[in-house]
């Protein structure tokens, strides 16, 4: 019996595929459309084509015309669904309310199950994660050592735990260093897993449709934190936070025994309760970029802005599209390496806008954005200084040599 196209979908996803009105409102916001202009890889076309796959195989038409789908059509669809950054803005603006940020990974999974995906280096990810615990093929022993601030205590057990995340640990170290410095400044006792224990949260596997390892990874991590008596798990990477809050309970099989907190939420609470004091000011015009999985994913929009506003002297400005409508930095969807040109072109849209608005610095709060925006500035005439939100805060609190 051949695999069907509805097999891997839940009722919600199936209803969503049927709910697309082909109105193409999503095209006006899709960052991949902005830089490629190719309608054939647009959200509406992906849904239309997938719907067509279902029609061709599981409908009256299938009985009459046979169930075959040309190989090329399947390949083109696979490429289209993997070229997306899974930023989810299409779902945000969709009048039918389609949850595209979750739908695309599930459609990707279907193509993976059919042996057509993933694309490029993504295919090696499960093996690499199995061997090293991270998708970057880096030694676990180097996960904390190169950036971890000196003289910082890590408790064996504590109610608060900090999860670094692979991208931060290996590719955006000033950011995670900033996180730890801020936790230290707050004066809270916190715990962390050992370097080899803190494995990938599963997000890159989820997003590329390779779901086999997920249950194992999630159970291993959740149980490890549970054994440490953790009540709040703090993390700064939006992708990890999103995965933890939305998908960990699913793979764990029940509610998590702890709360997931984004580092800006934690810092803001500390600022409000006086545990974190910002004594120095900063006379700068800052522009804040909302990471897709933080704003649209888990609704953390106000907190980072409140943190920035609590720095005396800061003038906070906004992108044209911000909050739930923010534009992707280009790095999402595990596509930033495979579709590098798209990613760089998208990142440059934000760089252009930040320059145009006269921002002194572009504030980010996602390790993938951090890496990508940095990368996109190479060989590009326009430049804007970038900084992670916790990196900036720690700079102000500890001085320039933080």
């Amino acid at each position: 019996m051949k695999r069907t196209f509805t097999e891997g979908l839940g009722r919600k996803e199936l209803a969503e595929i049927k709910a697309c009105t082909q109105c193409r409102e999503c095209l006006r916001y899709c960052p991949v459309q902005e830089v490629t202009g190719r309608v054939e890889i647009s959200p509406s076309e992906k849904i239309r084509i997938y719907r067509d796959f279902i029609e061709r195989t599981e409908s009256l038409r299938a009985l009459i015309t046979g169930r075959d789908i040309p190989e090329q059509l399947l390949k083109d669809f696979t490429r289209a669904v993997f070229e997306c950054t899974t930023c989810g803005v299409c779902g945000e603006v969709c009048p039918a309310g389609i949850d595209t940020q979750r739908l695309w990974p599930l459609l990707r999974r279907e193509m993976v199950k059919r042996g057509l995906g993933p694309v490029g280096g993504q295919a090696e990810m499960p093996e690499v994660i199995r061997n090293t615990g991270n998708p970057y093929n880096q030694p676990p022993s180097e996960r904390y050592r190169p950036w971890f601030p000196d003289e910082t205590e890590i408790a064996e057990k504590a109610e608060v735990a900090y999860y670094v995340g692979c991208t931060g640990a290996y590719q955006a170290q000033p950011m995670v260093r900033g996180d730890v410095l801020i936790l230290k400044a707050i004066g809270i006792e916190f715990t962390m897993l050992k370097e080899e224990e803190e494995v990938c949260c599963g997000f890159p596997l989820f997003i590329t449709g390779q779901h086999e390892l997920l249950e194992g990874l999630v159970k291993r991590l959740v149980d490890a934190y549970k054994n440490k008596g953790v009540k709040e798990l703090v993390c700064s990477c939006p992708c990890c936070v999103n995965m933890m809050a939305k998908d960990w309970p699913f793979y764990y099989g029940k509610e998590l025994p702890f709360k997931i907190v984004h580092v800006t939420q934690y810092a803001l609470k500390a600022i409000k309760t006086g545990k974190l004091r910002i004594d120095h000011g900063l006379e700068e015009r800052l522009i804040y970029h909302d990471p897709c999985y933080l704003s649209r994913g888990v609704g953390v929009i106000k907190e980072p802005r409140d943190v920035l506003r609590s720095i005396p002297g800061v003038e906070l400005i906004e992108f044209d599209r911000w909050g739930r409508l923010s534009r992707c930095c280009g790095a999402g969807g595990a596509a930033r390496k495979v579709f590098h040109d798209n990613a760089v072109a998208i990142a440059r849209l934000s760089i252009d806008e930040a320059c145009h608005r006269g921002a002194d610095r572009l504030v980010l709060s996602c390790p993938a954005c951090y890496e990508k925006v940095n990368d996109a500035m190479k060989d590009y005439p326009k430049k804007v200084r970038i900084v992670d939100i916790m990196e900036l805060l720690s700079e102000i609190i500890y001085g320039q040599n933080a």
Binding site: G10, R11, L14, A19, T21, V39, E58, P95, G97, V300
Partner: protein, 220 residues
């Protein structure tokens, strides 16, 4: 006779399509991510809010107000036109149904204008990219259907009794002669084409729009 045969073919196709869709939906895994189940408003309030989202197309309003105006007017007038048409199909409708028929009469006038307006709004963004071929086909089809309907209503009035006898005859297998009007046949056949191409969002979008509200309310 041919019109009647076509009608039965269309009805059989619709029946099979419907059964297959219901089968697919029932068979699909109903498991959902736990976060959607646990969080959000208390149940009655969220249902009310979602209901308002659905009937007023809030999501579209938020994103594209000019288009919202056209789409909302079109959908609401289309709904009343369809309800008014039920009088050709059903026997024993309550007397207050005449009010619905009356609203449907105005709906019939609004419909073609709203459709043309929608086309203009879309075209003003970027005709080639933002109008999908499927959508364009549907809009043109609806314009033709509504114009022919208006023609029968205001210019070349049809005998309601004949129409009703013909339509109910099909459903009761008591076949009656086709009303003698080319415009009617045109309108009727295009109506059948519309039934075949009726977009599935008519059934599922209310569910996904309601679901989207829960997602929007989600905060860690």
């Amino acid at each position: 006779m041919i019109v009647i045969v076509i009608t039965y073919i269309v009805l059989i196709i619709l029946y099979i399509k419907g059964v297959m869709n219901v089968f697919l939906l029932c068979r699909a895994d109903s498991k959902e991510s736990i976060y959607l189940r646990e969080k959000g408003y208390p149940a009655p309030l969220i249902y009310l809010i979602s209901f308002i989202d659905v009937i007023f197309f809030r999501r579209l309003f938020r994103i594209n107000k000019p288009l919202w105006l056209g789409e909302w007017l079109f959908h609401i007038s289309f709904l009343f036109v369809i309800l008014a048409h039920l009088r050709f199909l059903l026997i024993g409708l309550p007397s207050w149904w005449s009010h619905i028929v009356c609203i449907g009469k105005y709906g019939g006038i609004v419909m073609p204008f709203s459709l043309v307006y929608i086309l203009i709004v879309r075209a003003s963004i970027d005709w080639r990219r933002y109008i999908s071929p499927g959508n364009l086909f549907l809009i043109l089809l609806l314009i033709l259907i509504s114009l022919s309907g208006l023609f029968m209503r205001y210019i070349n009035r049809m005998d309601i009794i004949d129409v009703k006898a013909f339509v109910t005859g099909i459903f009761t297998f008591n076949l009656q002669p086709l009303p003698d009007s080319r415009v009617f046949v045109f309108h009727y056949l295009l109506g059948l084409v519309l039934l075949l191409y009726l977009p599935s969002h008519v059934m599922t979008a209310p569910i996904t729009v309601a679901e989207a509200r829960r997602r929007e309310e989600f905060r860690i």
